[in-house]
Amino acid sequence: MKYHALRVCANRGAFEAVPAEPVQLDLQRVRGGFELEGIQVLDCRVMLIAQMEREVTVGRDGRILIKSTNGPEAERLLQHVEAVLASAAAP
């Protein structure tokens, strides 16, 4: 799954990444992927809130929001989340 570049969200308190193509994530599998790595996840049914170094939310539509105002940190967290999504999507 490919993402558009990370961008600061409109209210400047977080970074957001939007999938380049429309997707529907299986949040149960994604949740399992996070939990395998020991990351605590709150399941809101339409999105997951992962307690990483910063709070990260992953929507059913694949949108990722990273509650950080630090670009390099957000980029690193995005890469981590992308890896979790890739492993969750693997057969």
Partner: protein, 203 residues
């Protein structure tokens, strides 16, 4: 008065307080789709305006996250912003009835965002019966910002915060009432509202 924590609603409230109206603030708390910053901003807005006008503005905080979850699970995301607004209006009207208020008010200005096109405002407010006062309806953004700066609310409103994660990628800017009503049939409107208002907290 519906308060969001943004630039417009405290300016709108300022004009209504200046006219001498007794106002009650209502905030639909959108967590977990936002963070704590809207609530913090509104608390500071009210503190500032209360000091300026020398009178208390009670604030009702209502949980809106569960409503958003129900809408996201069951309805067309494209019209999510309009449906969200309709629930906000209805919840505010319930509080208005509880407070014997005679009107509802917002900081809406025509055409600013997806939910504030004339078409979407019409479909959103068709859900309520009380008259709606919009002191800023014909203002442009620069005018509103100038007033916000002069009354001291601008710096509070523009603190960084997390944007609403329930907003769809391409929200509808035109919505028909028939379509909206069909979408609403997919959720239990009264149960959602009852739950929301029952959990209101007065600050």
């Amino acid at each position: 008065m519906l308060m969001s924590g943004g630039i417009d609603s405290p300016v709108s409230l300022y004009y209504l307080l200046r006219q001498g109206h007794d106002m009650v603030a209502v905030h639909l708390d959108n967590r977990p789709f936002t963070d704590d910053t809207p609530l913090e901003k509104i608390t500071d807005h009210l503190r500032l305006l209360e000091a300026r006008f020398g009178r208390k503005v009670p604030m009702y905080v209502l949980p809106h996250g569960p409503t958003q979850i129900a809408l996201m699970r069951n309805t067309d995301r494209h019209v999510g912003c309009v449906l969200c607004r309709r629930f906000m209006w209805r919840a505010a009207e319930r509080i208005a009835e509880r407070e014997n208020a005679t009107f509802l008010a917002t900081g809406e200005a025509l055409g600013q965002v997806a939910s504030q096109t004339l078409s979407n405002m019409r479909t959103a407010t068709a859900s309520v019966h009380l008259p709606i006062v919009r002191p800023l309806i014909g203002f442009d953004k620069q005018e509103i910002e100038a007033v916000a700066r002069s009354i001291g609310t601008y710096t509070i409103s523009t603190r960084p915060g997390v944007c609403c994660q329930a907003v769809p990628d391409r929200p509808a800017t035109r919505s028909g009432l028939v379509q909206i009503l069909q979408e609403e049939e997919r959720v239990d409107v009264e149960a959602i509202l009852d739950d929301c208002v029952r959990r209101a907290v007065v600050v």
